[in-house]
């Protein structure tokens, strides 16, 4: 079995504890809480969504979004990652005439006042030129990065792209809170025992005590779950080491 579901986990727990169906709902409540907690840093349920970019460069976040892994531009079979741009303002800009949201102002690269022979000043400043205005090469100072990017603005439940972003869609890879409907049927089988011990803990009189015996049992199962989920094999390690050695010309 590749994946299991909350329903299977809860019914199995009832069977193991000789409990009737009247305890199903309680098991379901606790197991969904456990799934949420495990999603953050153990199961790391990573969802991907192809999202449309709106008229002012905004992207609405999925309901189960917790944290972003990357915002990418699909390119053939690959995804090109975009960097975060923390300088993007979280404020939306209104059109003073219509009142609707409008795209952010782009950087003033296209403004004539800031150009030199058609090149943005930010570029030409670092060119080395002689007295005749001829380039002498040795170009310094141009950053290698790009100014395109995004910023996650949780209070708006949106991602804001930089001004002038051209693509109509982006692919968002994000950590889910494990509470979307799909997650109920996509639980790693390794996690079943961990969820059982969480239900036991929450049904015990020590439900709020993280140092209780029941809590420690759960934490141990969580530790084992992390170990089991680690997919690094001996072959992988050997391959990483071998790939770190390169043949080169010996002088």
């Amino acid at each position: 079995m590749i994946l299991t579901s909350l329903d299977i986990i809860c019914r199995r727990w009832l069977l193991e504890r000789s409990l009737p169906i009247h305890f199903y709902s309680e098991a379901l409540f606790h197991s969904s809480t456990c799934l949420r907690e495990l999603s953050f840093d153990t199961l790391q349920i990573i969802n991907s969504a192809n999202l449309p970019v709106g008229s002012y460069g905004e992207i609405n976040l999925p309901d189960d979004f917790v944290d972003d892994l990357s915002v990418c531009i699909p390119s053939g079979g690959a995804l090109g990652n975009l960097p975060k741009q923390d300088w993007i303002t979280p404020l939306r800009i209104h059109s003073t005439t219509t009142g609707e949201f409008v795209p952010q102002e782009s950087l003033s690269l296209g403004n004539d006042d800031n150009t030199f022979w058609g090149f943005p000043n930010g570029w030409s400043y670092y060119w080395n030129i002689n007295d005749y205005g001829e380039s002498t090469g040795r170009f310094f100072g141009q950053p290698g990065g790009i100014s395109d990017g995004y910023k996650v603005i949780k209070q708006r439940r949106q991602i804001q792209m930089t001004a002038g972003f051209e693509d109509s869609n982006v692919v968002l890879l994000y950590i889910s809170d494990g509470q979307s409907v799909d997650n109920a049927t996509q639980i790693d089988t390794f996690a079943a025992r961990t969820i059982h011990t969480y239900i036991d803990w929450q049904r015990s009189p020590s439900a709020t005590d993280k140092d209780s015996r029941e809590a420690r049992t759960f934490q141990n199962e969580q530790r084992k779950l992390r170990a089991r989920l680690n997919d690094l094999t001996k072959t992988d390690i050997i391959n990483i080491i071998r790939n770190s050695f390169h043949a080169s010309i010996k002088n």
């Binding site: 329903d7 409990l19 169906i21 009247h22 799934l35």
Partner: protein
């Protein structure tokens, strides 16, 4: 050992109460004793669950008599469905008295005896609505029990117009057993049932003064001094 029937229990109790065969004008009737036997059995089943099952940590009320009721109608009301319990079961923790509710979705189909609905505690349906993962109970149908009514989390009547329910209820429903049907009563409970029924009726006043116009000794005697004819 003869099988336990309601008639046999009532007859034994009657013999003890009356000190022999029941009199023609006995103030205790067989029908009454049969009802009393049912009441005592239900009370003992509940006591046994609390004294034995729960003490052992067993939540499943093994040994309890479960009455099976089929063909229970469902009504749509206020956007959800509801049904009425055919009989009020024993009150057990978590409403285990309502042991299971099964659907039969169409007229020509079978009851789904291994797919019971999900019981919820009172008020949990409303709380569940805020939880995106489980507010639909993973696609299952739940119900809350308020008194003798079951309220379902979905309008199953609208989804399946021909739906009827079967219920297993933890109750010894005396009306389900004829005089000579075997009762699902534990053998060790038999003598205790009789004892308790006898104790219940031992304080019953003797048969009241009956005005018997055919009795010679009754004639001319004031009403409140007349004795029953022996």
């Amino acid at each position: 050992m003869a099988v336990v029937t309601i008639y046999r229990l009532a007859e034994q109790a009657m013999s003890l109460i009356e000190g022999g065969d029941a009199k023609a004008a006995s103030s205790v009737s067989f029908g009454e004793l049969k009802i009393a036997c049912g009441q005592i059995i239900n009370s003992m089943l509940k006591t046994e669950y609390f004294n034995i099952n729960l003490k052992m940590g067993e939540m499943i009320p093994n040994g309890t008599v479960l009455g099976l009721y089929e063909g229970i109608e469902v009504q749509s009301s206020n956007g959800v469905s509801q049904a009425t319990l055919p009989i009020k079961p024993i009150k057990l923790p978590r409403n285990i008295g309502v042991w299971a509710v099964y659907p039969r979705y169409a007229n020509n189909s079978n009851y789904e005896y291994n797919k019971e609905f999900i019981p919820l505690q009172m008020g949990q349906t409303g709380l569940l609505q805020s939880q995106p993962l489980i507010n639909d109970l993973l696609g299952q149908v739940g119900y809350e029990c308020f008194g003798d009514k079951l309220f379902f989390t979905k309008d199953i009547k609208a989804l399946f117009p021909d739906i009827v329910l079967a219920m297993r209820l933890a109750v010894m429903d005396i009306s389900q057993y004829g005089d000579y049907d075997t009762l699902p009563v534990l053998p060790e409970m038999e003598s205790e049932i009789i004892k308790q029924v006898v104790a219940l009726y031992s304080v019953q006043p003797t048969a009241d003064k009956v005005v018997d116009a055919t009795s010679a000794e009754g004639k001319g005697t004031p009403l409140n001094q007349q004795k029953q004819t022996q």
